[in-house]
């Protein structure tokens, strides 16, 4: 892992002075706005990456190999990265598990994406992104990781694209430090992401692999685990998959008194089901108000005594724009719904947007 060595203060001030001089030339822009044109991945730039390869894994999953910018601080196996990509010209952020081992000599990282039905971002990444595309990145995060020292016995319980963080751990050599069992569910053998690699590891005796093909054998019930992996409750277990599976697994481990040995990662597309109206919270103002589906958030906020920025009140001047921290709003002119998850900070025009569910507004 790279660490940043603090520079002596005297040196910093020279650098600062140079930077300030450069800023007087580029104002109102910043020097970085010009440098981004030629070196978007340079040290000191906002964290981005360049897609260098897109390789199909299955018919609906692909691995993106990304050259991250110099600011990338590497990751711990099992972590995910938030990735911002422009789909139809609109920047969309999603989180994907890193499937490459950390510290590759070429400095590259991999994420593996499975196209989900109606998933416009996953579909774009799997089928339309081409090498050369610049994507926005955040530093790796997440605590779905193996502890140090590694436990003696490990169970990875995964389904669908839930295998991706586990692959990241296996590629980093999890099986060399622990006795590893992988129980993985997918509709058919061809749908198993990393099927070939997992089977090869099993053939070498590096892991024990239990594949469940749900199209022919049905969903794996937690009751079957005892037969498949008799010591599963004694193993440190990392589970990742659809919500239903994780709920059942958590309930099972809790009922058996082994909850402390279970680690889960909830992998799901953000489903904010838009409705009509909802509770609007102005997070910094500390006000919460119930708004119906026809009242602009601007009016709702003002009625609640929040000091709202405003302008033309007809959707043309953009004087009322505020970040939607999370939730869903509907454009009263077009009916179009905009959703946001924490971190997105989607900017919305409050004078023509009504709540379409619970909303948190940064104000």
């Amino acid at each position: 892992m790279t660490t940043t060595v603090p520079r002596p203060p005297a040196k910093l001030s020279v650098r600062d002075r140079l930077l300030r001089l450069a800023e007087t030339v580029t104002t109102p822009l910043l020097p970085e706005d010009y440098l981004d044109l030629v070196a978007p991945l340079r040290a000191g730039a906002a964290l981005r990456g360049r897609v260098v390869a897109v390789d199909a894994e299955t018919c609906d999953a692909a691995t993106l190999t990304i050259q991250p910018g110099r600011a990338w601080r590497d990751h711990t196996p099992g972590q995910y990265v938030r990735l911002g990509v422009d789909v139809d010209g609109v920047r969309q952020w999603r989180a994907y598990s890193l499937t490459s081992a950390p510290g590759r000599p070429d400095g590259r990282i991999c994420v593996t994406v499975k196209a989900i039905p109606d998933g416009k971002v996953s579909d774009h990444l799997v089928r339309r992104v081409r090498p050369g595309t610049i994507v926005q990145l955040d530093q790796a995060q997440g605590d779905f990781v193996l502890p140090d020292p590694a436990p003696d016995r490990v169970l990875f319980l995964t389904a669908g694209s839930g295998v991706t963080p586990v692959m990241g751990m296996l590629r980093a050599g999890a099986h060399t430090r622990s006795d590893v069992v992988v129980v993985h569910s997918a509709p058919t053998p061809a749908d198993v992401v990393f099927g070939g690699e997992l089977r090869a590891l099993a053939a070498q005796g590096a892991i024990r692999l239990v594949e469940r093909h749900t199209d022919t054998d049905g969903l794996l019930g937690v009751g079957e685990l005892g037969g498949l992996v008799p010591d599963h409750l004694e193993r440190e277990t990392w589970a990742c998959g659809p919500v239903g599976m994780l709920d059942a697994v958590q309930e099972h481990w809790r009922a058996e008194g082994a909850a402390q040995r279970l680690h889960t990662e909830r992998f799901r597309p953000t489903v904010i089901a838009p409705g009509e109206g909802g509770t609007v919270t102005f997070t910094r103002a500390g006000a919460t108000v119930a708004a119906d589906g026809t009242t602009p958030i601007l009016d709702a906020g003002e009625a609640a005594g929040v000091l709202m920025p405003s302008g033309c009140r007809m959707g043309i001047c953009y004087g009322c724009v505020l970040p939607l921290h999370q939730g869903a709003v509907r454009d009263l002119r077009t009916g179009e719904v905009t959703t946001a998850v924490p971190g997105d900070g989607v900017l919305i025009q409050t004078c023509v947007s009504a709540a379409a569910g619970t909303c948190d507004i940064d104000l």
Binding site: V25, Y34, G89, V90, G311, T334
Partner: protein
């Protein structure tokens, strides 16, 4: 021009209130079609313009480091002038309108953008987007009608001070960005009203001062200093580039609302205005400039002033595409689509400035006349 309600031949007399609402729906449909189709192509366009502008600006400034050599001075000055025009018109003005906010790119967003101009973006957005675009061409409400220093409508009362307005207009054209900064500050009104001591005004004035300082430091001190022996010639070059940018943007903006054929509106007429009536006011209160694709880009597509005023937040590259549809609506509803080549429109606007520096030749209908309280909707009644 005269407020539309006072005209003997009211150009909207043939439209019923219902017609106007249907017209509004048709315009909404044009807007919806663009929004449904807005996407990657548009994003590519604005990023390309931004990249071109930045490359041009930096290379022109680099050439000007050697401005002691006349060819370098000419090329550098021309390049910098074009870069500044692109930055203010096709990029700054349109980004600050929120035309590109839909991309959710924090680098190209109305809330984060600052432009190469002495008026801070925040203040300009208020006076331009909120006041001018909402109250377009309403006498007494839209300060863009003469910028508070000129008389550009017969219905604005004459005063001897207006005798000098052709001269003010010329001075304003040369130093247009400072004129805009003063205008955004409502400097005249605040000074006259004694509100210049109010903390709110002082904070805004300080923000303008800071912005002016940074702009002047860049253009007239740091860049010339970096040019070493070319100090004076670079200073002259950046001054010339700013002058060209000012004259150009002033000319384009005069063409938007001042030429012959553009209508103005009485204050009372917008009370309870419907969306259809608002659209109609934008249609009649704006004028286009005809010309080549390059000319449209250099005006920031404000040559499609009518389309811009109807849909101020649609991406500027789309105005050209919807113009035929908008024009067809004008024809169908029997309205006049005011347009003309740049020299003709500039001359028309200047002629008005000169003509209205003198009192009206014929007396206008007196205030209190029935006509002056007519609204757009009631025009057919």
């Amino acid at each position: 021009m005269t407020v539309i309600q006072n005209k003997p031949d009211n150009p909207i007399a043939h439209l019923s209130a219902e017609d106007i609402e249907i017209l509004g729906k048709e315009l909404d449909a044009i807007r919806d079609r663009v929004i449904a189709d807005r996407g990657e192509r548009d994003a590519r366009y604005i990023r390309k313009v931004v990249r071109t502008q930045r490359t041009l600006e930096m290379s022109s400034r680099a050439v000007l480091l050697f401005s002691l050599f006349p060819p370098a001075w000419v090329i550098g000055t021309a390049g910098l002038a074009v870069a500044k025009i692109l930055e203010n018109m096709e990029i700054g003005h349109n980004v600050l309108h929120g035309q590109w906010d839909w991309m959710r790119d924090p680098k190209i967003h109305s809330t984060t953008w600052e432009w190469d101009h002495v008026s801070p973006a925040e203040q300009w957005k208020h006076s331009h987007n909120q006041l001018h675009h909402t109250y377009t061409n309403v006498i007494g409400k839209d300060n863009d009608l003469g910028y508070g220093i000129m008389r550009v409508d017969e219905d604005q009362p004459w005063h001897p001070v207006y005798l000098g307005q052709p001269l003010w207009n010329l001075v304003n054209a040369c130093f247009f960005e400072y004129g805009i900064a003063a205008y955004d500050l409502e400097l005249g009104r605040n000074l006259r009203g004694g509100r210049h001591k109010a903390p709110e005004f002082r904070a805004r004035a300080r923000a303008v001062g800071r912005k002016i300082r940074r702009q002047v430091l860049k253009d007239y001190i740091v860049h010339p200093l970096l040019s070493g022996p070319s100090f004076l010639t670079t200073l002259a070059a950046t001054f010339t580039a700013n002058l060209i940018r000012n004259l150009w943007s002033h000319s384009v903006i005069m063409c938007g609302h001042f030429p012959k054929g553009v209508e103005t509106f009485a204050k009372q007429s917008i009370e309870g205005e419907t969306r259809g009536q608002w659209y109609l006011r934008q249609m009649l209160g704006s004028a286009n400039i005809s010309g080549s694709r390059l000319m449209h880009i250099m005006t920031g597509n404000l040559s499609y002033q009518i389309e811009h005023h109807l849909f101020p937040d649609l991406p500027s590259n789309r105005y050209q595409e919807i113009a035929p549809q908008v024009r067809a609506l004008f024809d169908r509803y029997g309205l006049k689509y005011t347009t003309g080549p740049l020299p003709k429109q500039v001359a028309s606007a200047w002629w008005k400035v000169i003509r209205l520096s003198l009192p009206n030749r014929t007396p206008r209908p007196k205030p209190g006349d029935d006509l002056s309280t007519r609204t757009l909707a009631a025009s057919g009644a």
